[in-house]
Symmetry: C2
Subunit: 336 residues, 2 copies
DNA sequence: TTGTAAGCGTTATCAC
DNA sequence: GTGATAACGCTTACAA
């Protein structure tokens, strides 16, 4: 099988190798009879072009990169990434692209991964997630002119191509909902403080409180890492306050669930004493008790738009608009 | 940046392009002075070799493929795959390999994906999961001589390179545990009936019952698809029997959790009336109530061994042994 | 030890 | 329309 290349097909079909290439590329200016002859041989031998050679020649690998800033353990439990990865794969496949996923925990290895994937031209473009307020990667990629799409937000809004949930709006909506259902001391547990998504959801939360004339209390705001313990300990701190909060908005489902579990451990009744809401509407939400009210962020739509945009960029089309927002909706369950 | 190739480095360092290549490849027979000169230029310009050209020339892409037989939705909720993917990435990275993940729902698209990835030589080798009893892919890949490693079991045992959990042993162990804790009517809810893993765990379950002189009752065995509904409806059927089962062994955590939730909905007390046990020890288990007892299958070890084996195969070393078993252990929680 | 040159399998630009 | 032929950027005999 190793020796199956276009010259071989050409030899058997009695044409030149260039003609084989033309036929396979669908070049219209080839004699129909020849076309058939070539295709017959291709079919019979099951010839498939070598992607490596195509990559070199065309300067395209048809590979999209996704770098996840988590250690393996953290990735394993996070439904957001599984959903994202699966949706990107699906969408990319429609355009005959494949997905190369990498993880990078430390800042150093992040740098290495980006170098490795892009500068080596192993992938044609990158989808970035979990961007930080002042993200070196983004400046770097921008200045080097690499095709990339950000899932998240960046200032100024159209400096880069990006797709985002309406994080501010969604956090506003859910906080507003909590207030309307009688909650007054609403706490927010974010993810890492530098993450744009952490800040955006905090923003929406503050805006909503303000719109109801409820003062913003910094003691009700905490930040957690992407591990269960830190969200749980943030919850413990919140419980030590008097009066205790009567609602907790977690920046994602895992944070909300960790906090809720911790609260229950302390004898808190949910949602009677404290209501809990998460983000992502992951499958998890339906398995726990009480089931978790969560903001559904339409990950497939997010992935779809990001992938479309990236492929457009790679293929030289300037996406318009350069920023797209995917709406979110509240999925009410038992916890709030 | 596009014009940064070895010739350019060579020109600036005043050597031939071949020498640049030799330096970068760590070829020992190069004059130290030249080495330094070349490396200096490489450093200064930040030159990185083009992976596409390397792939063509070396006939290696340094890319490993993983094809998951699930639709995006099913993948999203499944902690097994996130853990697997993350661990493979981590291990592959140590050997300077990257991971290309694809999904394939239908049999037709599966075929297409395998063709696409392997025959086009887009990846150097494949890791297969969720194999079926009579798996066409495996016969095909074997006969074509492609490097691949199976996560799962295949007959005869050393026909292919494989890594597996001790599924029979683990199911035996957990069933034995249930019997010893007083359970007698133990049900088993498998995944799709054709899957090897479904059958292996069923086997261990049967063996354990037999070892205790408990008759095997086919009415206590059901098969579910990879969606919540089918496991739940299997549970409903089990509950309609008299006497009801007093324990349920789910083939994975999601199946066990769906069944447990359904049982609770019917007023069943867990674990008093019915005990539940799952497989995979996913993060999920700790979030639900009661927390789910589960068999931990050491996914990182599985992924690590499979990746090591595949890379060995790719690089021409014949792995020895061709089959490796990773032990499992029971993680006891509240549900059983 | 270093340089020259022949590929790796395609695609695309020429002539014919 | 079709067939030589020159890249694509790199690795590696082979020559010097």
């Amino acid at each position: 099988m190793a020796e199956l290349k276009q010259v071989e097909i050409a030899r058997l079909a009695g044409v030149s190798q260039a003609t084989v290439s033309r036929v396979l590329k669908g070049n219209p200016q080839v004699n129909e009879a020849m076309r058939q002859r070539v295709l017959a041989v291709v079919q019979e031998l099951g010839y498939v072009p070598d992607a490596r050679a195509q990559s070199l020649r065309s300067q395209r690998t048809r590979l999209i990169g996704l770098v996840v800033h988590r250690a393996a353990e953290a990735l394993a439990g996070d439904p957001f990434f599984s959903a994202l990865i699966a949706s990107i794969i699906e969408q990319a496949g429609r355009h005959d692209y494949h997905l190369c996923v990498d993880t990078a925990r430390t800042a150093r290895s992040q740098r290495a991964v980006y170098e490795e994937l892009l500068r080596t031209r192993r992938v044609d473009g990158l989808i970035l997630v979990e961007s930080e307020t002042r993200d070196k990667r983004i400046e770097r990629l921008s200045s080097e002119g690499f095709p990339f799409v950000l899932i998240g937000r960046y200032d100024p809004a159209d400096a880069v191509c990006s797709v985002d949930n309406d994080n501010i709006g969604a956090a506003f909506m859910v906080t507003d909902y909590l207030v309307r259902t009688g909650r007054r001391r609403i706490a927010y547990i974010g993810g890492p403080a530098g993450l744009t998504v952490t800040r955006d959801r905090l923003q929406g939360y503050r805006d909503a409180l303000e719109s109801h004339g409820i003062g913003y209390d910094p003691h009700l705001v905490a930040f957690a890492g992407f591990n269960e313990r830190s969200a749980a300990s943030a919850m413990t701190d919140l419980l030590s306050q008097t009066p205790q909060p009567d609602a907790v908005l977690g920046m994602d489902d895992l944070i909300a669930l960790s906090a809720m579990r911790e609260a229950k451990r302390h004898g808190v009744r949910v949602p009677d004493d404290i209501a809990f809401v998460g983000f992502n509407d992951s499958p998890l939400c339906r398995y726990v008790e009480p089931s978790l009210t969560s903001v559904a962020v339409e990950i497939p739509a997010l992935a779809r738009k990001a992938t479309e945009m990236l492929i457009a960029l790679i293929e030289g089309h300037e996406p318009n608009p350069r920023r797209q927002i995917v709406p979110a909706r509240l999925v009410k369950r038992e916890s709030a």
